[in-house]
C-alpha cells in the first residue's frame, strides 16, 4: 500500500450515505418529455443542429460543440423535437436558458453507433475525438469537457482516478464501482493509452467505501494482464471532507501541492472522475455518447431513496416520483450535495450531465440556519480551509468589496467547499460572500476588457475622422485654387471678349499672379471693347449672358450636390461652406441679371439711334489724357479733357511719391496698350511690327526707371495707401 499524505483543514460532517445504498442500481421509466439544455458544461453553449419537428434517435447529435472548450449534446432517447426554447434549467440563478425539448416515442431506438474494435490500436487523437464527440464532461459536478483535459501540453507521469465521493449523502460513484468495476478498469486503460501510458495509475478512494474497494480489487485480479498497461493501484485514505477536490486529492495521493493558478497537468498529473471513466468506456467500447448517468436521490422526504441510472434531460419531478418523493415534507430541494449544492426553484428542471445527486431533506433534517452573528475572529475557518486561505480576512474584504485585497488573499483559490461556513460558530454564510465577490471580480474583469476594446475602437475612430478631415481640407484647398484660376480665366475671357487679342490674354491672366500689368491689360482690353462697334458689343454682352448663365447653373449644381452631401456631413465648418456656396449661386444669378440688363440697355440705345455709349464701366475708367489717342467722338474728347484737368488738379495736391506712382501707373497702362498693339500687329503681320516692339521696350525701360525712383522715395513713407490707390485708379 502506497503512502498517503494529509491535507490542511477539512471537516467530518455526518455522512448519511447509507440511505441510498440499501438497494441496487435502479432504472427509471422513460419520461414523456426530455429537456436538454444547450449548456450543461463549462464553456461555450452548444449550437442546435436539429429543428422543431425533426425525428431524432437515441444517441443522435442534436447540438454541436462550439469552440474548443465546449461539448455537444445528444438525444437521450428517440422521439420528436417538440421545441427549442428557453426553459428553467438547474442553475443557482433559477433562470431560464435555451433547451431542446424532445417528446419521446417510447421505442428507445438507437442511432447507428460503432464500437471501436480495439482501442489500443487507435491513436490518442482518435480516442480524444471519440470522447469529445460523445459529449463527455466531468461527471463529478463541475462539468468540464473531458476531452480538453486529455490533451495536456505537458508530459504526464501520473493518472489519478477520483473515486472520492466526499460529500455527505451522495453514493452514485460508490454504487457504480460496486456494480461496474470491470468496465471502469477498461475505461482507465483507455485513459492510460490516451495519455501515453503514464508511470502509475492511482485510484483514490476513501475508507468509507469498503464494498467499492473490494469490487475494484476483484476486478483488478480478474483483469487480463496487458503488456502496455501500467499497474493500477487502489489507494485508500481516511475519510475527510473535501478530499474529493482535484487539488486536494492530488496532494493526498502524491504529496505535491498544485500551485496557485496552475493545473495538475503542470505537475505531470491528470485527474479524472470515476463516473467520467465509465462514460469514456461506454463511448469508446460501445460507441454510445453520454445519454445517461447515475444520480443519487436521497433525503428523508423520499420514501425509497437510491441510485438511479437516469437519462440526461429527464425532468427532476419524474425522477423524484420513482423515489417516492413527498413534496409536503421537503421545504427545499437541492441539486448536488448538502455542502456545495444549490436549491432548485422548481421540479420542472431536467437532470443534466453534472447532476450527481438530488437531495430532498425534511425541515427537521436540515433546519433553517440561525441568523448570522458578528465574526468573533475565532479562526476556526482558517483551520478548516483545505486551500490554506484566510477565510475571515476574505470575509472582511468581501464585505467591504475590496477586490484588490481579495485577490491578494488568493480568493481565486477558494474551491467553495463550504468547510469554513460549516465550522463558523457565528453561522456566517462565508462561501456566499466569496461566490458573490468572485462573480463581481469576473464582471469587473469582463468590463475592463470591454472598455479596453471600446477605447481602441474610439481611438481608431478618432484617427480616421482626423484623416478624413485632413483629406477633405486638402481637397477643398485644391478646389479653391482651381476655382480661382477658372474665375480669373473666365473674367479675362469676358473682358477681352470682343478684342481680338483674346489669344494671349487668357494665358496671361490665368497665371495666378495678377500683376499690375495684367490689370492694366485687362483695362485696356475693356476700353478696346468699349470702342468696338455696337455689333461687337452686343456679341460681348450675349457672351457674358451665356457665361454667367453657365456659371449660375454650375453653382446651383454644386450647391445641390453639397446639400446632398450635407446629409452625410454636418458640422459647423461644412455648414459655413454650404452658406458660401449659396452666396456664390446668388452672386452668379446677380451677374447673369446684370449682363441681361446691359444687353437690354444696349438694345434700347441702338433702337433710339444714340451713338454715345453709357456703359457704367466706362465712366469709372480712369483715363489719363495721354491715353486718349485719336478719339473721334467729340463728347469723348470733352470728357477726356475734363478728366485730364481733374487729374492735373489732383496731381498738384499730390506728394512727389504719389506723383511718381501715378506716373508709373500710366506708363504701365501705356505699356499694356503698346503690347496689345504689338500683339495685334503680330497677328495681322503688320509692317509696323518693329516700331511697336521698340515702343514696348522703351516703355518698359521708363517703367523700370520710375520704379527705381519710387523705391528710393517710398523707403521713408508708408506704403499702406499705395495698393488702395492703385486699385482705385485702375478701376
Amino acid at each position: 500500500m502506497s503512502k498517503v499524505w494529509d491535507i490542511h483543514g477539512g471537516i467530518h460532517p455526518a455522512e448519511n450515505k447509507q440511505q441510498s445504498l440499501t438497494g441496487p442500481l435502479q432504472t427509471v421509466a422513460l419520461p414523456k418529455t426530455l429537456v436538454l439544455p444547450l449548456s450543461q458544461h463549462i464553456g461555450a453553449p452548444a449550437t442546435p443542429v436539429v429543428s422543431v419537428g425533426d425525428k431524432v434517435l437515441k444517441g443522435q447529435l442534436i447540438a454541436a460543440a462550439k469552440g474548443f472548450v465546449s461539448a455537444p449534446v445528444h438525444a437521450s432517447s428517440s422521439g420528436v423535437v417538440s421545441a427549442i426554447e428557453e426553459r428553467a434549467v438547474p442553475h443557482a440563478s433559477g433562470m431560464q436558458a435555451p433547451c431542446i425539448v424532445i417528446e419521446t416515442d417510447g421505442l428507445e431506438r438507437w442511432a447507428e453507433h460503432n464500437a471501436a474494435a480495439n482501442y489500443r490500436n487507435k491513436t490518442a487523437a482518435e480516442l480524444v475525438a471519440i470522447i469529445r464527440d460523445a459529449g463527455i464532461t466531468g461527471l463529478g459536478g463541475a462539468g468540464f469537457p473531458s476531452a480538453v483535459k486529455l490533451q495536456p501540453r505537458q508530459s504526464i507521469d501520473t493518472l489519478i482516478i477520483n473515486a472520492t465521493e466526499c460529500e455527505p449523502y451522495i453514493t452514485a460513484d460508490d454504487q457504480l464501482m460496486r456494480q461496474r468495476s470491470a468496465d471502469i478498469l477498461i475505461g482507465i486503460d483507455i485513459l492510460a493509452h490516451i495519455l501515453g501510458d503514464p508511470e502509475r495509475v492511482l485510484i483514490g478512494i476513501e475508507d468509507n467505501k469498503p464494498e467499492a474497494q473490494e469490487a475494484l480489487a476483484k476486478a483488478l485480479a480478474n483483469k487480463p494482464v496487458s503488456e502496455h498497461a501500467p499497474p493500477i493501484e487502489v489507494v485508500e485514505f481516511p475519510t475527510k471532507y473535501p478530499s474529493g477536490g482535484e487539488k486536494q486529492l492530488v496532494q493526498i495521493l502524491t504529496g505535491e501541492e498544485v500551485p496557485s493558478g496552475k493545473l495538475p497537468a503542470d505537475l505531470g498529473i491528470v485527474c479524472q472522475n470515476i463516473g467520467t471513466t465509465h462514460a469514456i468506456y461506454r463511448a469508446v467500447c460501445h460507441g454510445e455518447p453520454l445519454v445517461s448517468r447515475i444520480t443519487t436521490v436521497t433525503g428523508k422526504a423520499c420514501s425509497t431513496p437510491g441510485n438511479f441510472e437516469v437519462l440526461i434531460g429527464t425532468p427532476v419531478a419524474h425522477l423524484l416520483e420513482q423515489a417516492g418523493f413527498n413534496e409536503a415534507l421537503c421545504p427545499q430541494l437541492v441539486m448536488g450535495g448538502p455542502m456545495m449544492g444549490f436549491a432548485l426553484p422548481s421540479t420542472a428542471v431536467p437532470i443534466v450531465k453534472a447532476t450527481n445527486c438530488l437531495l430532498a431533506t425534511t425541515a427537521q433534517e436540515s433546519p433553517a440556519p440561525p441568523p448570522a452573528q458578528a465574526c468573533i475572529r475565532c479562526g476556526h475557518c482558517a483551520e478548516a480551509c483545505p486551500a490554506n486561505l484566510l477565510p475571515q480576512q476574505l470575509y472582511w474584504h468581501a464585505q467591504s468589496k475590496n477586490y484588490e485585497r481579495l485577490e491578494a488573499h488568493h480568493l481565486g483559490d477558494c474551491i467553495e467547499c463550504g468547510a469554513c461556513s460549516y465550522v463558523c460558530p457565528s453561522s456566517i454564510p462565508l462561501v456566499q460572500y466569496y461566490r458573490a465577490a468572485k462573480g463581481e471580480i469576473r464582471l469587473i474583469n469582463e468590463e475592463k476588457q470591454q472598455s479596453d476594446r471600446a477605447r481602441i475602437r474610439f481611438e481608431r475612430h478618432q484617427a480616421r475622422i482626423e484623416q478624413e478631415e485632413k483629406d477633405k481640407a486638402a481637397k477643398r484647398e485644391a478646389r479653391k485654387l482651381a476655382a480661382e484660376a477658372a474665375k480669373a480665366k473666365r473674367e479675362a475671357d469676358a473682358k477681352t471678349g470682343a478684342a481680338n487679342t483674346a489669344a494671349d490674354t487668357p494665358s496671361a491672366s490665368t497665371e495666378k499672379s495678377t500683376t499690375d500689368l495684367d490689370i492694366v491689360q485687362a483695362a485696356m482690353a475693356r476700353v478696346a471693347a468699349n470702342k468696338a462697334s455696337p455689333q461687337d458689343q452686343r456679341k460681348r454682352f450675349e457672351r457674358a449672358i451665356e457665361t454667367t448663365a453657365a456659371r449660375l447653373a454650375k453653382a446651383e449644381k454644386d450647391l445641390e450636390a453639397f446639400t446632398k452631401d450635407e446629409n452625410a456631413e454636418l458640422n459647423k465648418e461644412q455648414l459655413a461652406q454650404r452658406e458660401q456656396q449659396r452666396a456664390s449661386v446668388e452672386q452668379a444669378r446677380l451677374r447673369h441679371q446684370e449682363a441681361k440688363n446691359k444687353l437690354a440697355a444696349l438694345d434700347n440705345e441702338q433702337s433710339s439711334e444714340q451713338s454715345s455709349e453709357q456703359s457704367p464701366d466706362q465712366k469709372t475708367q480712369p483715363e489719363s489724357p495721354t491715353d486718349s489717342d485719336d478719339e473721334p467722338e467729340l463728347d469723348r474728347a470733352a470728357t477726356a479733357i475734363a478728366r485730364a484737368q481733374k487729374n492735373a488738379a489732383q496731381l498738384a495736391l499730390m506728394t512727389p511719391e504719389q506723383k511718381l506712382q501715378k506716373q508709373r501707373d500710366s506708363l504701365e497702362k501705356r505699356l499694356g496698350k503698346a503690347r496689345t498693339r504689338l500683339a495685334q500687329a503680330e497677328s495681322e503681320g503688320s509692317e509696323q511690327l518693329e516700331a511697336f516692339a521698340k515702343a514696348v521696350s522703351s516703355l518698359n525701360e521708363k517703367i523700370n526707371a520710375t520704379n527705381l525712383e519710387l523705391a528710393s522715395l517710398t523707403q521713408t513713407s508708408e506704403p499702406a495707401n499705395k495698393p488702395a490707390q492703385q486699385s482705385e485708379e485702375t478701376r
Binding site: 460532517p13 455526518a14 455522512e15 448519511n16 450515505k17 447509507q18 449548456s39 453553449p45 443557482a92 440563478s93 433562470m95 431560464q96 436558458a97 455527505p168 427545499q332 437541492v334 448538502p338 455542502m339 456545495m340 449544492g341 444549490f342 436549491a343 427537521q364 433534517e365 436540515s366 433553517a368 440556519p369 441568523p371 448570522a372 468581501a398 464585505q399 463550504g418 461556513s421 460549516y422 463558523c424 453561522s427 456566517i428 454564510p429 456566499q432 461566490r435 458573490a436 465577490a437 462573480g439 463581481e440 469576473r442 464582471l443 468590463e447 470591454q450 472598455s451 476594446r453 471600446a454 477605447r455 474610439f458 481611438e459 481608431r460 475612430h461 446629409n567 452625410a568 456631413e569 454636418l570
Partner: protein
Amino acid sequence: MTEMSSLELLLTAVIALVALATVFGVILGYAAVTFKVEGNPLAEQIDALLPQTQCGNCGYPGCKPYAQAIVDGEAINKCPPGGQATIDALANLLDVPAPELDAEHGEEAEVKSVAYIREDECIGCTKCIQACPVDAILGAAKLMHTVIADECTGCDLCVEPCPVDCIDMLPIPQTVSDWHWQTPLTPAQRFASNNPSHHSNANLIASDRGLDDSKDHAA
C-alpha cells in the same frame, strides 16, 4: 610637506564642488533626455479607470479628453456610466475625497443597455453611424443599419440624431452565463428588505449544521 594656504584650501573645495556639480549635471541631463516620459502618464491612468463609453455626458468629447481635463483640475464626479465605483477609483488614484456623482450630468444606470435599430424603419441616413464613437453601427447610405451589440457601449449618442426615431436603448437581459451570486444580506438588511427568499439560497451551506442532529439515524 608644506602646509596648504587657506586660499589653496578654498580653491580645492570650489574645484571639487564644481567638478561634482558638472558630473551630476551631465548625468541628470542625460537621464532627462533618455528616460523622458512621453505624454501624460496620469491622464492615461485616469483614462484606464473611465468606462470608455465615450458618451460625452461629462461635457467632453470622449473619455480621454475628460481624463485630460481631470488632470487639468476638472471635477471627478461627472461620469454617470462609471458611477460611484469610477468616482471612488479616481479618488483613490488622485488621493482626493470621493464626491457624490454630479446629477447634472445624468444618473448612474441600474442596468447596462445596448442600442437596437428597428431595421424595418431604418431609412439608411447614416446619421447614427457618424454619431457612434466606437464604430459599432454597420450600414451604408440608403441601406439598412444595424448595431454590433457586442461593441456597443450603450452611450445612446445615436438615438438623438435618428430622423425616424427607430433606435431604442434596450437593457441587456441577464443570462445564466453572466449571473453571479449576490452578497448575502446582513440580518438587519434582511429585516429591512423583508425578503425571506433571499436567505434560503444564501444560507444553504450553513444549513449543514443541522445535519449533526441526524447523526444517530445515519449510524
